[in-house]
């Protein structure tokens, strides 16, 4: 057990930090410090390409597809330095972190050659088509259907909560390809181009007033028959495996964002004097502890997966960070008091970082598997308790 880094790894840190600082204070100074997922999408698309040109876009990938075969320690260091340098949210997060690794694991050689370099170099930005109006926590309730017609798959249906669909080139879709099937059987995992008449994207306005989620409609949308990952009818297994990649190294970058939020809160508490309140101090200290433990939980998970195994911390990580962040939002409002409830955006319904966090973090315990679903998963898969009775009308 060792937490420190070697000299060679520290040298890599300097190399990464130097490059990132130069890029984000030079040609990409304008995207430095951006925290919103929807701000400056075009510049952030260029940023993806700029990262790729120096092979920084997906360092953990194999070199033949645009990566660097980086070790776990190097990936951890890069994620931390990226956040420290003020790098913006990665527009191609879903491509690099989710669909890329899934194609590496399940794709044919042709699919790897076709899709991976385009993700690595920023040409293809990806989004996710899982949830539907009638299939949220119960993903097996998917009703979007697809069938073969000539050399194509044809897709009909509706997806929802497709983050960033308005900026994306490709979407991965779970669709029912066996019309007689129910539940997790008879589903297929399709890769579908967004730029076609059969695909329509409509914004959803969130309770924060912004729009980063969408509804995506498929009306006789088409994709090449070869664009299926795994066998027809075996899409559920691929879809679940993809979710397993969600707890990768990018969680460390996400944590650096949380660090900035907690630092803002501490600053606000010092500024308005509430930092001297014994009760507030206890809560801020608890938040500090929770954030630190997130890092070490992630390092346990990442070490285990680099060794080809898994760690129990992977089961609890989602609830851990979601609860932490929601509590931080609530603590922020306690620190700010009534002043936090009034916008400084001159007539616009927009709030500064901490009040925004208070609103936004209500989503954290819902998306990516609600806390209730997470608890079922922990109880059934980690603790071996009996499965919930599941009934489904056909």
């Amino acid at each position: 057990m060792k937490l420190g880094f070697t000299e060679a790894e520290e040298a890599f840190r300097v190399e990464a930090a130097t490059w990132l600082t130069a890029a984000l204070s030079g040609p990409f100074a304008d995207v430095r410090g951006v925290t919103s997922l929807v701000e400056m999408p075009e510049r952030r698309r260029e940023w993806e390409k700029y990262l790729a040109a120096s092979r920084w876009s997906c360092i953990g990938w194999p070199a033949q597809y645009g990566g660097r075969d980086a070790t776990l320690a190097q990936q951890v260091i890069f994620a931390e330095e990226y956040a420290r340098a003020g790098g913006p949210p990665r527009l191609n997060h879903l491509g690099i972190e989710l669909i890329g690794p899934t194609i590496l694991a399940y794709g044919s050689d042709e699919q790897k050659a076709r899709f991976l370099p385009a993700i690595a170099n920023g040409d293809h930005i990806w989004c996710q088509g899982y949830s539907e109006p009638g299939a949220g926590s119960d993903l097996g309730g998917v009703r979007t259907k697809a069938w073969r017609e000539g050399g194509d798959w044809v897709i009909e249906g509706q997806k929802v909560w497709t983050s960033l669909a308005q900026f994306c080139d490709w979407i991965f879709v779970i669709a029912r390809t066996d019309p007689e099937s129910v539940g997790s059987k008879g589903l297929s995992f399709l890769l579908v181009p967004m730029d076609q008449d059969g695909v329509t994207v409509r914004n959803i306005v969130q309770m924060t007033g912004e729009s980063e989620f969408n509804e995506t409609f498929f009306d006789a949308a088409r994709t090449d028959a070869a664009n299926i990952l795994g066998e027809p009818g075996q899409g559920w297994g691929v879809a679940m495996a993809l979710l397993g990649f969600e707890r990768g190294v990018s969680t460390l970058g996400q944590q650096m964002g949380f660090r900035n939020e907690l630092d803002d809160l501490i600053e606000a508490a010092r500024a308005n004097g509430s930092a001297g309140d014994p009760v507030i101090r206890q809560k801020i200290a608890q938040a500090e502890i929770g954030l630190r433990l997130m890092r070490y939980g992630a390092l346990r998970m990442l070490t285990a997966s680099a060794d080809g195994g898994s760690n129990p911390a992977a089961f609890t990580y989602k609830i851990q960070w979601a609860n932490w962040r929601q509590s931080l939002g609530e603590l922020a409002m306690e620190v700010l008091g009534q002043a936090g409830e009034i916008s400084d955006a001159h007539g616009e319904y927009a709030f500064s970082r901490l009040p925004h966090l208070f609103l936004y973090s209500r989503a954290d315990t819902i998306y990516g598997g609600t806390n209730e679903i997470q608890r079922n998963i922990i109880a059934e898969r980690a603790l071996g308790l009996p499965r919930e009775a599941r009934t489904r009308a056909k």
């Binding site: 060792k2 880094f5 101090r281 500090e288 911390a313 609830i319 109880a379 980690a382 308790l385």
Partner: protein, 331 residues
């Protein structure tokens, strides 16, 4: 960076678990509780014999030359069985003696003697059976033999770790530096946190086992979401406690800059997690969990003892508040 046990550490964990599961049985622990000592003498001899007591001491004084990670592994295994042994304070005292190079006193302890540690304002765990007393005084520690202290024992809620009021009445045999006091605290905090981690994990494991057996309404109660979700929440706390304990242990072993923060985090978080899990254990066992016969109360009481030993959770969080720059408490 590799945040997982080495093969050697995994082996120590296995050996320690086997030892405590084999020896620290409910029957033997209850015998040690009943005689008022809180010490299973045969188990204490085994721990001395295997080198577990001096796991963190150098080889030239008879230690095992390992570090805080290994010490935490052993304390975790002890906590899992709520073992009745004076391990935590003895190991904390050893760290203080080592910091000031008192090989003579270390040899006494490694020879099988029990040491205890009374921090300012605190009681001495296992004070009634201790041979060597380390008492916080004037920013450092004084070391006294039994005949130089007045020991007043009270009936203690946690009978696996009886507490005593200790007063120095005669000349101490040594005084130790502030550095030694810090070393005692650091080891003590890690050991308590690891004890709490092991205890919390046992609460979860034993409760999971129970709800898989217990039938009500024509089914095992482990199938009810109200039960499953509460157990899942216990696991969420425990996995964080595990990260906390081994982060702190590594931070001390590696001399990391954030060691102080890690120690306070581990002590506060793990002890609180234990208290939560032990309370849930009683609740999810229902009536049987409230009986003297069931072991749930052993965990519940030890959890409370872990929370207050060597500083309360609130005190540790206040220490963190100061480290992260919140300034002073407003008057």
């Amino acid at each position: 960076m590799r945040f997982a046990f080495t093969d050697e550490q995994a082996m120590i964990a296995e050996t320690a678990t086997d030892l405590f599961v084999g020896e620290a049985t409910s029957e033997r622990t209850r015998a040690a509780m009943a005689d008022g000592s809180g010490r299973d003498v045969a188990l204490w001899d085994s721990l001395s014999g295997t080198g577990f007591v001096g796991v963190h001491m150098p080889g030239d004084v008879g230690g095992s030359e390992l570090g805080m990670v290994e010490l935490a592994i052993i304390a975790e295994a002890a906590g899992r069985q709520v073992a009745a042994v004076p391990l935590i304070a003895t190991q904390a005292a050893l760290s203080a003696l080592h910091a000031d190079g008192r090989a003579d006193l270390i040899e006494r302890v490694l020879g099988g003697q029990v040491a205890t540690l009374a921090l300012a304002g605190g009681l001495a765990p296992h004070g009634t059976i201790a041979d060597l007393f380390l008492i916080e005084q004037d920013g450092g520690l004084v070391v006294a033999d039994r005949d130089a202290v007045d020991v007043v024992a009270g009936t203690t809620m946690d009978q696996t770790r009886p507490l005593a009021q200790v007063t120095l009445t005669w000349a101490p045999i040594a005084t130790l530096s502030a550095k030694a006091l810090d070393a005692a605290k650091h080891t003590g905090w890690i050991a308590v946190a690891a004890d709490a981690l092991g205890g919390a994990q046992a609460c979860l494991d034993r409760t999971v086992e129970y709800v898989k057996e217990r039938q009500q309404f024509g089914q095992t109660i482990g199938g009810f979401q109200a039960i499953k979700h509460r157990l899942a929440d216990m696991m969420v706390e425990i996995e964080q406690a595990r990260s906390a304990v081994y982060w702190a242990a590594c931070a001390v072993d590696e001399g990391a800059e954030d060691a102080e923060l890690a120690l306070h985090s581990a002590k506060a978080f793990a002890a609180d997690a234990y208290a939560t899990c032990a309370g849930a254990m009683i609740q999810l066992h229902g009536g049987i969990g409230f009986t003297w016969e069931h072991d749930a109360h052993l965990f519940f009481k030890r959890a409370q003892a872990d929370r207050t030993l060597f500083g309360s959770s609130a005190q540790h969080r206040e220490a963190i508040a100061q480290i992260i720059g919140l300034g002073a408490i407003a008057a």
